[in-house]
Amino acid sequence: MAEFDPVAILRCIVDREVEFVVVGGVAARLRGAPLLTQDVDITPSLTRPNLERLVAALADLQAQLRTSDEPAGIPFPFDPLLIESANVWTLTTRSGDLDLVISPDGTGGFKDLIRAADRLVIALDPELVVNVASLADVIRSKEAAGRDKDRAALPLLRRTLEELDL
């Protein structure tokens, strides 16, 4: 399994000029919630040119499908139409796991999330800036998803939001 390097994953996607928002656990951490996660979740814009750029980035990252039976990945021919056809793609890349979440639970996807997102510096030398979903939107999504691990994370996420609002 590749060592998890979220900066490398996101830098590769940015280099291809893909429009996206970081969501999920990495977004929560970037917003200040002390959670641990070992995959990057992104929600891409669904315009055709953007999905074509995303497919190119996935090729650069040597992305493969990730399943519980095949965590090391299964080769898969990604294309823009295919990506749009499912809501979640769990992938493994040369720099760790990456999930494409077309429309996170409780949200309207990229157009919805980008409104409250901020551009944050997530790495230096060279600087890397990405759109990061608001903590309120991360919470909204986890509330809607309702999985055990999402519900379990909510108290800490809400506590962080309270501190940010003070």
């Binding site: 998890f4 979220p6 002390p34």
Partner: protein
């Protein structure tokens, strides 16, 4: 071996106290104690969380003092260390 047993086994093989492990992972000893006891909700590396208590507030405040890139780097380092410990425990 389930997750909480794995954590304890890894820590003991590394000859670390709960407090030392907590310090390396950027958390509190009581959090490690909860992980090892199995009382935390579904500990896995997907999302490692703690229950809501006063220690959480300290963790949150410490995290909020950091810049976003420092938060991400800290998380990656914690994940890497945890993976190393898991490998030790699995043998």
């Amino acid at each position: 071996m389930v997750g909480n047993e794995l954590i304890r086994e890894a820590r003991l093989r590394a000859r670390m106290t709960q407090a030392e492990l907590a310090d390396r992972l950027g958390t509190h000893q009581s959090v490690v104690a909860r992980w090892e006891s199995g009382r935390s909700a579904g500990f896995d590396l997907g999302v490692a969380i703690t229950e809501h208590n006063d220690h959480d507030l300290a963790l949150v405040r410490r995290e909020l003092r950091l810049a976003p890139h420092e938060r991400l780097a800290g998380m990656v380092e914690a994940v890497r260390k945890f993976a190393e410990m898991t490998e030790i425990a699995v043998g």
